[in-house]
Symmetry: C2
Subunit: 350 residues, 2 copies
DNA sequence: CTGAAAGCGCTTACAG
DNA sequence: CTGAAAGCGCTTACAG
């Protein structure tokens, strides 16, 4: 029906043989052009490139890699894609990998399915596997053992103490130490802990940071800290923080400083205290963790601990590149990132 | 040196031939077990599975797909991984794809490099390509033409009016119409527009929504709306909103209601007005767009427009599955998602 | 169940 | 520059 002949072939060219026939050259010659090999006439090269433009022919990566070309693919296993700091790490790392021409195969791991995810990565012959987030410790430990047995580079970001694993982790204890030092300097001696009663290692590390800092100042952890976490169910963090704050205010006596597990809980707590008529930081100080964008959006702005995500991603990329360099294979490396306290309006004198 | 022999072979098994030798069966038999074909003894099947567990052997996906097995991979091209609503759409879509056993190959597109990204997807023989975010219109239009020529399913999420493209887009005009209706009902007649002077289509659509709604109420757009966008450079949205609010307050007369491009600008504006001693919503009302989690964190909480991300992802997945079903191939489909106004404390009577 | 063979789409010597 | 050949790791008839 159409009277204008299509400029491009209707059926796309699917193989190098077909493509070579289209260009009018030998398969071998086309292949040499595609791979930038020397000793070819400029005219031949131009001819092939023009034909690629015209037809949109793309060599089949599956055939290429079967022939031995590297896949240049990194498998990245995420706990989820809904936790902003984790996604930021993913974004930063992916940028660095992309700059080195690595593609990223990203999968979200449903708990208990690490085996399936890793098998998929292995079948795709990825050159390394990265885990970002918190996973079941046993599960991940076993996966790492398998990867080590396969001699496949790996990296665990944000989950400390996986035996035998290469890890990059924020020094959460140091982050909490900075928070406590800051509050002690402001004259606070009684601390409310918001959402810190989890048995997760990343939470326990932080509690230890609090404990050690208090001890260094000759303060007893049990007498100086208070938690009402058991009174509420943690559903949405903001609501949890708000409810915890209200419960503290309902007590006869409550601490003057509150350390939250994360920024969302902290901002919820600020709202909870303000609802009850308390001033932040006049009556109580509140601190968060992660230093997300939301910290500047609350009133007052939230004092928080920055995760140094760029530094984390750079350490991660460096570890991966080192592991993928065959000359550099060594034993498991544990890298620690130093967090940074960012003081804002939510903390003040006791 | 080591006295305990390793339980697993030190060199991982890399090919089915090697694996078959290890199990002590013919390659053909192993292949049939792996592909769940009938007519095999239970003992043989168990033997092969045990050996897979023991060795961690994974068939090479590149060989499988060369033999004709589907790649079951979808290419997803993101504008970036730093815009929360875009990442939420990615997360929701990826969940739906994963439920259907599709893997996602995610790439971030640096402006001007769409050709490279699409070529990579094509070489990986993805079964469909999805674009999420805002891209250069000409560039994306051309890519879509190429994909259509290749008969490859595609979908553009969030970028309307790409000729010939299958799209799923939020009805941004309807979102703004709902905002304006809400404010008109509260008695507002003068509106400040915050960050809406962009020439991007997604912004223009929204301005049109405002214009049409005002017209329906016999109000003139130019006399009823005001913008000071030109006074400031848009760097960080929160700061931009705050600066815009301050500039409005500095004028002799300013509107009673402010419509922001997004939640960050809106919350910045709330801070700006409060800095100047104005009450929100007593003196001025402020609205956002996107209904992000931050909306409940500001004081007052922010009235905003919800993007209905789950509905968007479902429409997207449905479109992709329909396109990938060979029986259902049709002409380009444009799907529209209806947004929903969420009223909170930042808007009140004029 | 086995074993030899063909073939998926490529690349890479090799002889012309 | 060409053309025939081997081979990457698989699957799938096919004859035993």
């Amino acid at each position: 029906m159409s009277k204008t002949p299509p400029l491009k072939p209707i059926a796309p060219i699917r193989s190098a043989a077909e493509f070579a026939r289209y260009v009018g050259l030998a398969r071998t010659t086309v292949s040499r052009v595609l791979n930038g090999q020397p000793g070819l006439k400029a005219k031949t090269i131009a001819q092939v490139h023009a034909a690629m433009e015209a037809t949109g022919f793309t060599p089949n990566a599956y055939a290429l890699h079967l022939k031995g070309k590297r896949t240049a693919t990194i498998g990245i296993c995420m706990e989820d894609l809904l936790t902003p700091p984790a996604v930021k790490k993913l974004a930063a790392l992916q940028r660095l990998l992309r700059a080195r021409h690595y593609a990223s195969l990203i999968e979200v791991l449903d708990p208990g399915h690490s085996r399936r995810v890793v098998r998929h990565f292995l079948s795709m012959r990825v050159e390394a596997i990265v885990f970002i987030g918190h996973f079941i410790e046993e599960e991940i430990t076993q996966r790492i053992q398998e990867l080590t047995a396969h001699n496949l580079p790996h990296l665990v970001i944000d989950q400390p103490n996986i035996g035998g694993a290469n890890t990059v982790t924020l020094d959460r204890a140091a982050g909490m130490a900075a928070v406590v030092e800051h509050l002690l300097a402001l004259g606070h001696t009684q601390f409310g802990l918001l959402g810190m009663s989890s048995s997760l290692r990343t939470v326990q590390d932080r509690v230890e940071g609090v404990r050690d800092t208090l001890r260094a100042h000759r303060l007893d952890f049990d007498r100086s800290t208070h938690s009402l976490d058991h009174l509420h169910v943690r559903a949405r963090d903001f609501d949890y923080g708000r409810a915890l704050a209200r419960s503290f205010v309902a007590e006869k006596k409550y601490p003057t400083a509150f350390l939250a597990l994360n920024d969302e809980i902290a901002i919820g707590a600020i709202h909870g205290f303000q609802d009850a008529g308390l001033g932040v930081p006049q009556d109580v100080s509140v601190t968060g963790f992660n230093n997300q964008d939301i910290c500047i959006m609350s009133t007052p702005a939230l004092t928080s601990v920055d995760q140094q995500i760029d530094a984390t991603a750079e350490a991660a990329a460096e570890s991966l590149f080192a592991q993928m360099n065959p000359a550099h294979r060594r034993r498991a490396q544990v890298r620690t990132i130093a967090p940074q306290l960012v003081v804002r309006g939510s903390t003040g004198p006791a």
